[in-house]
């Protein structure tokens, strides 16, 4: 894999071209660390000191720095991007879609209802719901009322894993219009506290910013 870089009119921004697809649809602007939780790659890039904003295009990653020298930043950023693409990890956790592409309003409403129902399921250790903890990576609705939930746990091998999975299934099943629920457990990307909502972080007394 060879990553090219390209200067932009703004000297504080640099474009990286990994030679692979970055976004399948549209673009994604990430203006601060809080918004990075939806993208494992963005989380890793924000962990490099000096990165203040990101923009993902179809095949480009534009990185904006707040300070420092590109000569010093570039090797670290190239390393992060290379490692991420080589690992085959997701760029964004939930597909970012324009409203018109998401499907029907009814489908959106069911997704929202499933997510709301999943808030009944708490991580017993952290004592907060799995949606706001960022443990639910994706909720997708297929024809026939099939809900596909992709989720993780805070730690691999947790004794609560099967209860969380079954709990998510039961909670989603309680939503009107859901006939079948498939819960897929994944550890790619691994969960980090960065993935929590601001509300969950505040509840647990966790400061914003910084990965592990």
């Amino acid at each position: 894999m060879f990553i090219q870089t390209e200067a932009t009119p703004d000297p504080a921004s640099l474009k990286f071209l990994p030679g692979r697809q970055v976004m399948a649809h549209g673009t994604l602007q990430i203006s601060d660390r809080n918004a990075a939780a939806q993208s494992p790659l963005a989380v890793k890039l924000f962990n490099v000191d000096g990165v203040t904003a990101l923009s993902f295009g179809a095949d480009t990653i534009t990185i904006t720095k707040g300070g420092g020298d590109w000569q010093h930043l570039k090797p670290a950023l190239l390393g992060v991007i290379m490692e991420h693409f080589m690992s085959g990890a997701l760029i964004v956790l939930e597909p970012v879609r324009n409203t018109g592409e998401v499907g029907s309003t009814e489908e959106q409403a069911i997704v929202a209802a499933v997510k709301e129902a999943l808030r009944l399921v708490i991580d017993p250790e952290l004592g907060y719901n799995i949606v706001d903890l960022g443990l639910v990576y994706d909720v997708a609705i297929e024809d026939g009322g099939v809900a596909n939930i992709t989720m993780t746990t805070t730690t691999r091998g947790c004794p609560a894993t099967s209860y969380l999975k079954d709990g998510a299934r039961d909670a989603a099943w309680s939503v009107n219009g859901i006939e079948f629920v498939e819960v897929k457990l994944t550890y790619e990307p691994p969960w980090t506290p960065e993935m929590m909502s601001t509300e969950a972080k505040r509840h647990l007394g966790i400061s914003d910013g910084g990965g592990w």
Binding site: P124, E125, G157, G205
Partner: protein, 451 residues
């Protein structure tokens, strides 16, 4: 189920262990054993084995049956072995204690208690090794915390081997000169393999994972942690293998122990640096009681190391070694065990009662099963009493030591009451305590409800 399951008999191990702790503290408060009797007396041996085998080893075994699967994200090799294992270990301990009492002339039944104890404990720990060893074996390559446990398991094998040799010689079964030499000079090696390898090294590995989990801190496994692991493993290998070799060759065991001590010191310094990093890098700023009390236990370990260095520097380590062993056993190992027990009991009880209804109805948090402000006083009393008792041993004040042991007993009973309240869900709010289908769990056994 992916990874770990609820270990059915872990609570029974914990209960048996707590009974042994209370019995040991009661005996110390009554002036039984050291310092009222010599270190090598049968009374002290009863006390030491009640603590090391009855309290700490049973607790460690119960905890490992639950948490080794968490460390390696694989199920335990056998869920049916922990009960016969517990039966063998408890019967073996009881027989061993009877053997010591027989040695003291208190028990006059003409029965070969020592060989029987050796057989029962060998079977019990053999089953522990088989079950946990098979679980670890299929999970290779092991993550760092599990490697500590693997070395701990090798150490218990060495400890039990020493113990078997001691019981066979003391029981008059053999008079092989090499084995008699091991009995004469091998007690420090038996203690190092047990307290250092089995209990301390395993506890170090488990803390790497549990502290990271409970405080939301990054899991460690970098060069510093690995170097610490290798130094500790080397220290144990030098002490045990080198020590036995020195005994067989009639060479100096002290020199071997000095070399092992230096390696052990390096391992503990690196471990200390890692633990400091875990506490500092934690995401959860407000940490729970178990993590706060674990810090006191780790501070006791640090104090033990400092004490060893200072006493050795002054040339009086041999004179005060009992005080150091006491601080390691009660400040570090027992303090950590009680702190983590407070969390683990709540966590397992939650899984047993509320895990199966998750997603169907509102459930309490694990923290809702505990009242930390009520428990903290007992923990603080426990640690203050342990530190004061250590000082009393150093200053050779046996009456003060007995008073402190009495305070430790009161504190331990206070903590046990909190654990029983957790098991009975007494502190969960009435609205969430017993939703339809949830019942109060059995005190001594975990069984998944709603199956």
């Amino acid at each position: 189920m992916l990874g770990a399951r609820l270990s059915r008999w872990t609570m029974s191990y914990f209960a048996a262990a707590l009974i042994a702790l209370v019995a040991a503290e009661l005996l110390m408060a009554l002036g039984y054993g050291y310092p009222g009797a010599p270190v090598e007396s049968a009374e002290t041996l009863v006390l030491v084995h009640l603590v090391a085998l009855g309290w700490l080893s049973l607790l460690m075994c119960g905890a490992l049956f639950q948490f080794v699967p968490v460390l390696v994200a694989r199920p335990l090799y056998s869920d049916s072995l922990p009960l016969p294992t517990l039966a063998c270990l408890v019967a073996g301990l009881a027989t061993l204690l009877l053997g010591f009492l027989q040695m003291d002339g208190i028990v006059s039944i003409p029965f070969a208690f020592f060989p029987m104890a050796a057989a029962l404990l060998a079977i019990g720990f053999g089953l522990v090794l088989w079950n946990l060893g098979r679980t670890l074996w299929v999970a290779r390559p092991l993550p760092l915390p599990a490697r500590f446990v693997a070395v701990g398991l090798c150490s218990i094998a060495a400890t039990v081997t020493f113990g078997i040799i001691f019981t066979l010689v003391l029981g008059g079964v053999t008079d092989n000169p090499h084995l008699v030499d091991v009995v004469a000079s091998g007690v420090p090696l038996h203690a190092i393999a047990g307290l250092g390898g089995w209990l301390t090294f395993t506890a170090m590995g488990v803390t790497y994972r549990l502290l990271a989990m409970f405080m939301l801190a990054p899991e460690l496994g970098g060069p510093r942690s690995r170097t610490g692991f290798y130094c500790g493993t080397a220290a144990l290998a030098v002490a045990i293998v080198g020590g036995v070799t020195a005994i067989c060759l009639a060479a100096s065991v002290t020199l071997v122990l000095f070399a092992a001590g230096l390696l052990g010191l390096c391992a503990l310094l690196l471990y200390g640096a890692d633990i400091l990093h875990l506490y500092r890098a934690r995401k959860r700023r407000m940490i729970e009681l178990n993590s706060r009390m674990a810090a006191f236990a780790i501070a006791s370990l640090a104090a033990s190391v400092i004490l060893i260095v200072v006493l050795a520097g002054l040339g009086i380590l041999a004179q005060h070694v009992a005080a150091v062993v006491f601080l390691v056993a009660f400040g570090w190992l027992s303090g950590l065990a009680l702190a983590k027990l407070y969390k683990i009991a709540a966590f397992l009880t939650w899984l047993e009662c509320y895990g199966p209804v998750l997603g169907k109805m509102a459930t309490p948090r694990v923290q809702d099963l505990t009242v930390e402000r009520r428990a903290i006083g007992w923990f603080l009393l426990y640690f203050v009493a342990v530190w004061a008792a250590t000082a009393a041993l150093l200053l050779e004040m046996p009456v003060v030591f007995q008073i402190c042991a009495g305070l430790m007993l009161i504190a331990s009973l206070g903590i046990i009451v909190q654990l029983v309240r957790i098991r009975q869900l007494l502190d969960v709010s009435a609205t969430l305590r017993l939703p339809p289908g949830v019942r109060v769990p059995l005190l001594l056994r975990c069984s998944v409800q709603h199956d």
